[in-house]
Subunit: 277 residues, 2 copies
């Protein structure tokens, strides 16, 4: 029987990691492994303890006929601090500063490991909130939105600046860019978001927040609600249109030389989840 | 000791799933768990057996001082057939056909579970090949490229049709679209791909293959090699510029009515990996 438990633990861990934020019934595992529910409960207690001690996330068991087990990926304070410090260090590199004070981040936003960890960190802040979909604006927000949506186990939708022939009917809104005060347009396929959806907005970089404000307008046009806003990096801005957001990094490029860069951790808060407690 | 093994199996499974296609030394695990290497070897034999029987992937152990364990995510024939059939069914819906014979796929390409499985299936074909990076063209190929790159554990790069201020110096090429024979331009940030890189090209939809041919040119401009091409769906085309590719789906919309759609499995081949063998 020892071997059987070992086998179940390996497969159960894999299954739970691939099905976050969904209630899996004990019956499902009992049938999958042809094993009594009492043994499954003992297995899950082991998985819970290891996930807790390694900071993988939280595993909750709900008793009763309608009960089951619910896995929430989370990042603890220590791991979050280590990860963000390593990203700060990677971004603190003057060769990343481009003309206009922009910062090159495409390598990090194209690194699966960085994306996976960023997704886990940014979703930790929204634990316990109901979220139906993640929204982002093309192009550079997409990998982040996917990383966050994957941890939340919900679909993500991509807002575009043009109506594409492959998207069908679209709803578009105008918005004012925060810094240059230009009027721009953004559009989302009509069938991609249902009315009443609770939406988490995700983007790579926020300065004044004009693009994010545009997405907020778009969510309302679809009859939905904005649950929150999460960004990889916030930049310096004289105007700030968005007050309530979560950021991984705070990035400042010097307005004088344009080649200096100062990177500090953003305003994320993982205090709600402490590993090794 | 029974409990300790159980704990190790849970954490080891999680660790290996997050670090595919990289050699992890037995010493690493021995130190992580303060356990003799002989016990670690036994643990890994259990993980290997379960991964094999559940079709999670392949776990190889290399003996010796420089040895270790190497996990390759793979999808077996049965799971691949089931998955592709379910996707075929989802796409075989006349309401997806848009004016011009285009097909709406954004819901599937924004579904984390579909992306994860597609990534695993498309990479199975390239098992054993050296791949340094995944390349795609903005916008709709991005989620797929990320899903494939995540399974391969390599970075992905995004080719754009315009030079953005956030990308720094770019290399651009002209290419001929396959169907309409227009000359277009695509560009990639100079610092995103190193010379000599072995590249897997990934895109959402291929008709004649003009965009993919453009990306092949771009890879050569960077001094790299194209290892292969993988697409979510191939459409019908009178011209085909790309012969060697892997597709998940074959999609045909009727040239007469433009509201009929016929979806069949693509040319993928998972015979190399058989689960439950």
């Amino acid at each position: 029987m020892k071997t059987r438990r070992a086998d179940r633990l390996v497969d159960m861990t894999h299954y739970l990691l691939e099905h976050p934020r969904v209630l899996v019934s004990l019956n499902f595992f009992a049938e999958r492994y042809e094993t009594a529910k009492s043994s499954i409960s003992e297995d899950l207690a082991i998985v819970r303890r290891v996930f807790k001690s390694r900071g993988t996330g939280d595993l909750k068991t709900y008793p009763g006929a309608a009960g089951g087990v619910y896995y929430t990926p989370m990042m603890g304070q220590v791991e979050a601090a280590d990860f963000v410090n390593s990203v700060c260090e990677a971004v603190s590199d003057e060769s990343r500063v481009l003309p206009g004070g922009y910062v090159y981040l495409s390598d990090l936003l194209g690194d699966p490991a960085v994306l996976r960890q960023t997704g886990r960190l940014l979703t930790t802040e929204y634990v316990g909130q109901e979220i139906d979909a993640v929204m982002t604006a093309a192009t550079k927000g997409i990998p982040l939105a996917q990383a966050v949506a994957s941890e939340l186990n919900v679909p993500f939708v991509i807002v575009r600046d043009d109506a594409k022939v492959t998207e069908g009917s679209m709803i578009s809104v105008n918005y004012l860019t925060g810094s240059s005060k230009r009027v721009e347009k953004m559009a989302l396929s009509k069938r991609s978001l249902r009315s009443g959806a609770k939406v988490l907005i995700v983007d790579d970089f926020m300065k004044a927040g004009g693009t994010i404000q545009g997405m907020q307008t778009l969510v309302r046009e679809f009859g939905g609600t904005v649950v929150g806003t999460a960004v990889f990096a916030e930049g310096r801005s004289n105007v700030r249109l968005i007050e309530d957001f979560t950021s991984l990094l705070h990035v400042e490029t010097s307005p004088e030389t344009k080649t200096q860069i100062k990177v500090t951790p953003g305003n994320f808060d993982t205090r709600i989840y402490q590993e090794k407690a």
